[in-house]
């Protein structure tokens, strides 16, 4: 008996993997049904639906990058403190002295890559007409996920608290003060007023809601940190689950039923 067989015969192994290794047809079917991670997939699948030259694999890579970002992000959270006193210094230390500080590089480049792969995924889905019935709703979910990906990247941009960060966020968030009705420099903000008293000012408009302040400051750093590490990832994870579920329920990634 080989060592491999001995391990696969042990009670521990069998308690984890409920069926023999997927060497024959029967076990290749049951492995898909009994393994939590694999059960996202159907047991069998149309050949063209998995051809790399057809799918470009961009949706899958986007999801994988989301996982990479989650793992490296959690590791970075152990180290990084989102305060004016520490944010920049912690990033500096990650660069210069911290063991495995390369997590920051992987996190940042992974984020850029994810923006690109999510665009290419959308490009492929459009070019193969995969949004057509019965997959209309899943395209809508996908558009929201695209927006969340951009917002994740945008909120993360501020966290290093260097010149690149605050000015990119300042430029980006300045638009919010021009929001119609809800921005203090937007058209129609005068309509929201009570007895001659403006409800929308630079301390109560859409930009203030985003920044937690009238300028990009410590409150903004805190707000973006929570959005980046908790709120948006949770929303994205939920929508990803729906996205995958609907791929299954709508009959695969593409082609009419």
């Amino acid at each position: 008996m080989s060592v491999g067989d001995y391990i696969r015969d042990s009670q521990i192994w069998k308690s984890v993997f409920r069926h023999p290794a997927p060497y024959d047809r029967r076990n290749r079917v049951v492995v898909m049904l009994t393994n939590f991670f694999l059960h996202l997939h159907p047991v069998s699948i149309k050949q063209q639906g998995i051809a790399l030259s057809y799918t470009w694999c961009m949706g899958g890579i986007t999801f994988f990058l989301f996982l990479v970002e989650t793992i490296t992000g959690v590791l970075l959270m152990f180290y990084y403190r989102p305060t004016l006193e520490w944010a920049f210094n912690d990033i500096l230390a990650l660069r210069d002295v911290t063991t495995l500080g390369i997590m920051r590089e992987i996190h940042r480049w992974g984020a850029h890559a994810m923006v690109i792969t999510v665009w290419l995924h959308m490009y492929r889905v459009f070019l193969t007409g995969s949004y057509k019935p019965p997959r209309e709703f899943n395209w809508v979910v996908g558009v929201i996920l695209l927006k969340l990906t951009l917002l994740l990247s945008f909120t993360g941009y501020l966290l290093p608290w260097d010149q690149l960060a605050i000015w990119a966020i300042t430029v980006g968030s300045n638009m919010a003060r021009a929001t119609p009705v809800l921005g203090h420099e937007g058209p129609g903000f005068q309509f929201l007023n009570l007895g001659g008293y403006d409800l929308i000012t630079n301390a109560s408009d859409a930009r203030f809601l985003l920044l937690g302040s009238r300028f990009v400051g410590e409150e903004t750093l805190n707000r973006f940190y929570i959005l980046h590490c908790v709120a948006i990832p949770l929303a994205a994870a939920g929508l990803i689950a729906i996205h995958f579920w609907r791929v299954r329920k709508d009959g695969g990634i593409s082609q009419p039923l």
Binding site: W109, V115, A178
Partner: protein, 470 residues
């Protein structure tokens, strides 16, 4: 070493720091790039050899055939020699001759350093790509285009200013994205052409053949596994090779010039040149998102579901690609590589001079209208209240309101009777109105650009009193 040319070059650049176009390490690095290009082309030569294609010579050249592989082999040999030249000449940069010549820099900059020419070039290029799709999608042409763009990038690296902008760590993914988007656009046309040829012969698309069900284990899970490993390896190499950018600590009083949004939002920042923030930063992004969500509900074409095709979905694909390639990716290129201090447009080989001046004499539509009639602008008496002012302001901006009203309300009706007649019949009123307004909103950006360049139009409706400028 004669230091006089160096000093004069400092003076001409208006800076105290030396900006050498080539240094030993640049030349040595380019040697490696040419070596990589050489290896890529050796592989391609090998492929051509096995395909056994020929190129027919024209009659005046003898009318014979040359194997395609021979052409690629010759080209690969030249690349190898170029690479050797770089490795052996790296020690004497001042006499190095394989550089981007100045006249070529001037010629390229003359086109790209002007938003008008840049936009015209990307738009014309886009429609040429659609027209020439049969020819461009041939593998040898695709490979030649890739080589041309890589050679352009490589030889441009011999320019100091070009290196500054392309070599910024955050810009590296954008350069990569250009090649990746180009590659996948090529893949699309290659596959769409094949299916369109099949459709013309009455055969089913490639995707409909060999489409039996296979087991997910091993056919899909192994592909996923390999993709994950490749992605991880790539990210690690990228992380090791390029350090994530970290500038000086944040300072609220030191505004960098230019201040740029993150690169994927530079298309929106570019819109700010033509529209006010409430439109460019709030309304248009919302319309883009809403419009993208609306796509499945307004595209009534049942064809092209689950296979690549261009001919069966000409309008949908042209519109979407126009939005994605020239308007989104194109504007990102413009925002990243060409916008410099004071948001002026600079050439890719041009020094970012803070003092570059561009005259802006933009005129509002209302000014064109009233001054054209020889009248002053309607003006409320000084110090009057909101309700006294409002009729004057509305009268002043009446031409703009009429123009916008015509554009968004009347034009859809006119189009429903003419160019979009079939669409209107197939879609019904509500769908058609959503569709036509989305198309018109998308056209609003290029339209305003052209009007700005042609007649210096500033705003259709200019009511700064109410922050309402269109």
């Amino acid at each position: 070493m004669n230091s006089l040319p160096l000093i004069t070059s400092w003076l001409s650049l208006g800076s105290l720091e030396p900006h050498p176009n080539v240094t030993p390490s640049v030349i040595f690095g380019l040697g490696w790039l040419y070596l990589i290009l050489f290896c890529m082309n050796v592989a391609w030569t090998w492929r051509s050899y096995h395909k056994g294609h020929h190129i027919d010579l024209p009659a005046f050249a003898g009318g014979g055939h040359i194997p395609t592989a021979a052409v690629w082999a010759t080209y690969s040999t030249v690349l190898m020699l170029v690479s050797v030249v770089h490795f052996s000449c790296a020690s004497s940069p001042e006499s190095f001759w394989l550089i981007m010549p100045d006249f070529a820099k001037t010629a390229v900059d003359a086109i790209v350093a002007d938003a008008r020419y840049f936009f015209a070039a990307t738009t014309v290029g886009f429609f040429l790509m659609l027209l020439l799709r049969e020819w461009l999608a041939r593998p040898n042409i695709g490979w030649a285009s890739l080589n041309l763009s890589l050679l352009f990038l490589t030889i441009s690296m011999t320019d100091w200013d070009f290196r500054q902008i392309v070599g910024k760590p955050d810009n590296v993914p954008i350069v990569a994205m250009l090649f990746i988007v180009g590659f996948f656009t090529w893949v699309f046309f290659y596959r769409a052409n094949e299916n369109d040829r099949r459709a013309a012969q009455g055969r089913p698309p490639v995707e409909a053949e060999n489409n039996e069900k296979v087991l997910t284990w091993p056919d899909l899970v192994y592909t996923e596994m390999i993709c994950m490993i490749a992605a991880t390896a790539l990210l690690m190499l990228w992380g090791i090779a390029l350090q994530a950018p970290l500038e000086e600590p944040a300072s609220a009083v030191k505004t960098p010039n230019p201040s740029k949004a993150p690169w994927y939002f530079l298309g929106l920042q570019e819109m700010l040149v033509y529209y006010d923030p409430w439109l460019a930063g709030v309304v248009f992004p919302s319309v883009i998102l809403g419009g993208m969500m609306a796509i499945p509900y307004i595209d009534f074409n049942k064809l092209g579901n689950g296979y690549y095709t261009f001919n069966e979905r000409k309008f949908a694909i042209t519109t979407f690609m126009f939005g994605f390639l020239p308007l989104w990716v194109g504007m990102i290129i413009l925002g990243t590589f060409l916008r410099g201090p004071n948001w002026n447009v600079f050439g890719i080989y041009e020094f970012w001079d803070v003092h570059k001046l561009e005259a802006l004499n933009n005129v509002n539509l209302s000014e064109y209208f009233w001054y054209g009639l020889g009248q002053p602008l309607p003006m409320a008496p000084a110090g009057s209240d909101f309700w006294t002012q409002a009729p004057y302001i509305l009268a002043r901006e009446a031409p703009g309101f009429l123009a916008i009203g015509f554009y968004l309300a009347a034009l859809p009706g006119l189009m429903a009777g003419t160019i979009f007649k079939k669409f209107f019949i197939r879609m019904g009123f509500v769908r058609y109105m959503v569709f036509s307004n989305l198309v018109l909103m998308m056209a609003a950006l290029p339209l305003k650009m052209v009007l700005r360049w042609a007649v210096n139009l500033k705003y259709f409706i200019a009511i700064p009193e109410w922050f309402f400028n269109v």
